[in-house]
Symmetry: C2
Subunit: 400 residues, 2 copies
């Protein structure tokens, strides 16, 4: 039944699919095993060097520090770019909660960097239909959340002249629906059971959904953006739990005359309580939200952020912190841009010269600044701007 | 697995679903058993009388002669009408072949009568997506066939001011797609296996399709037609093989706040070779096509129409024809409008005074006239008219 790594049972070490991320025995996700299981490639230094060379700018922190750590055919996208041709970016979000947490921002921050560095068009899918089906929200509530989330996404700084944001409830139809049908014809029920772990008790809305997330990978789904460019390559930045959708998409693509999308995939942003999965929007104390006040942030970091420091100052000075499990250091490695400072903290903290409280204090500063910057940017996003990003229109700066 | 009458096996007597109509042991379809199995009601004389009384015109031949023989809540539709309120009609076609045969015309001829008699709006769905998936046609070919079939449908004489024709590839989206998701959330894979006989080897396009045929039953799927009329009742004239779709629809409707559609259901128009199933578009000699010439019709009727006459003139004069199995008489009962003449033929032929050749000659006249009338009407249907019927627009004569 399950031939794609979603199988449970004694031999099963970890579960990673779009709806569940669980490490083995409460431990950490083993990303090497995930790469092997999913059949993607590790993003190595030579690729990162190539990105820097081609774009003429330093690689993003998330690349340098291995947050985006795996890929499929990213090298081919760079080949395309090196030949002076273009590609487009596709990412998305399932709008299930009103407030985003920091983990939600990761793919968008990285996608913005890619858009700026490569100067390429971007489509962002808000899967309000998915959340309506999985979370049993009403259509109206799902659509409302999609628009609220769109404001947070726009606040990440995307270039409106290169970005089309759409919600499925607003956009499914026409060429997009035609592609959904083309994909659906190529995938059996048995196949989606293998890839996604569906059961016969699942409703057919779930079973119908994978083609909806697949088809933005194909430029012909956007006739207002890419007319006559059916073979334009697509690069998808996403967290690796979305890989099953695109394994399916890549399997189907050549059978319906389309290019396989390339992927660049991130690890999960860990919960405050420790690196056993990804942050959960349903447990407010597991995550820092973009709506949290500086006081909230201080309280959450101090109270919940799992520390690798020792249980007494004496032991800490003696043995140093265990950086492998330390959440403040992990969070700083996502969001503290200064490489030298990060190295300094790791060295001092790992050797016991710096205490947990000092590291947490620095993290609180970094996160408060980030969240405050986001809060201000989001407050400036008007309903008119949302309408403008979501308007079905050609993009003026598509390939320039 | 199969709790809705699609189960095969020793006890199984006949198979009737949207993709297969097979009588038991090459015999006739047992419509009484079908009514019992599906759980619909027989359309009795009192309902037909009521139709005549309410509309002030004689009942259609297809009603008088039991072609439309079963229903679900048709009485409630008449209650609505009697109270001075309105309803709307919904019918459709899967555009799988270029030329329609006479069996394909039956629901449209009857729907036109209902539209004229009740003066109500009508939506006609062309399921080009379904045929693309089941018949493995390309999207483009399916869309082309939908337009070709639309011409035949328009040729049946529908009132453009009351009729909206749409193809799924052109129309799915917006409120229609929202309703698809609402329906899909309420139906499990197990359920569609029970209703439609799908298997895990079927592709997910098939499994996704039932909501597409379900949602035209809900007025909110057509915001340009029925704004603010979400509780408007819907009456679906169709052949009884489509009943599974609407059993599912009726099951779901109250759970998502909608009215159940009512149905009025026909028996199958028999093949020339005899009444064991419905006509097949794939065997050209089993059917009279609207594109057949008078010569074709003469040849097909004389050569293939199964006769209930005896094997010699002597025996025929002695025993008379078996009207129960005679296809020329069956066809005349569909298309010869004059009740007196039909009775006369049945009496004379049944008693042996009239010969098969004479009955076939009369049938050839009736069908040739019908097909010629259709041919002329279809030739007058322009591409502009198709565009006009398919335009997403309010209907000027909706409720007048």
């Amino acid at each position: 039944m399950a031939d794609d790594g979603q199988k449970r049972g004694e031999e099963e070490e970890q579960v990673v699919n779009p709806w569940e991320v669980t490490a083995k025995d409460g431990g950490k996700i083993d990303y090497d095993k995930l790469i092997e299981k999913f059949g993607c490639q590790r993003l190595d230094c030579s690729l990162i060097d190539r990105v820097e060379r081609l774009t003429g700018r330093p690689a993003h922190v998330f690349l340098r520090r291995g947050v985006f750590f795996a890929h499929r055919d990213f090298n081919e996208i760079l080949d395309v770019y090196e030949r002076g041709e273009k590609f487009y970016l596709y990412t998305g979000r399932g709008p299930s909660s009103e407030a985003l947490h920091l983990g939600h921002l990761v793919p968008f921050m990285f996608t913005k960097y890619l858009q700026d560095a490569f100067k390429v068009p971007l489509v962002i899918q808000l899967t309000d239909d998915e959340k309506c089906m999985w979370k049993n929200l009403s259509v109206e509530e799902s659509k409302r959340l999609a628009r609220e989330n769109a404001k947070d996404i726009i606040a990440c700084g995307f270039d409106m002249t290169r970005t089309f944001i759409f919600s499925d409830f607003n956009y499914v139809g026409g060429a997009f629906y035609e592609n959904m049908v083309k994909v659906a014809k190529c995938v059996t029920f048995n196949k989606v059971v293998g890839i996604f772990g569906f059961t016969p008790e699942d409703h057919i809305g779930k079973i119908s959904f994978p083609p909806v997330q697949a088809v933005p990978s194909f430029p012909s789904s956007f006739p207002h953006l890419f007319p006559g460019k059916d073979q334009l390559r697509c690069l998808i930045p996403c967290a690796i739990d979305q890989d099953p959708y695109f394994r399916m998409t890549r399997d189907v693509a050549p059978r319906i005359g389309y290019q396989k999308p390339a992927l660049i995939e991130s690890s999960f942003f860990p919960a405050l309580q420790g690196e056993t999965g990804k942050m959960s929007a349903s447990d407010p104390n597991s995550a820092i939200y973009v709506t949290d006040s500086s006081k909230d942030i201080k309280n959450k970091v101090n109270r919940y952020a799992f520390s690798g420091g020792q249980d007494s100052i004496e032991n800490h000075r003696k043995y140093g912190a265990n950086l492998e499990v330390d959440i403040p250091v992990k969070y700083l490695s996502f969001f503290l841009e200064d490489d030298d400072e990060l190295e300094h903290i790791k060295k001092e903290y790992g050797s016991g010269r710096m205490l947990t409280g000092e590291v947490k204090k620095r993290l609180i500063e970094v996160l408060s600044e980030l969240v405050e910057r986001h809060r201000k940017a989001r407050a400036a996003v008007t309903d008119e701007m949302v309408d403008a990003f979501m308007a079905v229109r050609p993009l003026p700066n598509m390939f320039s």
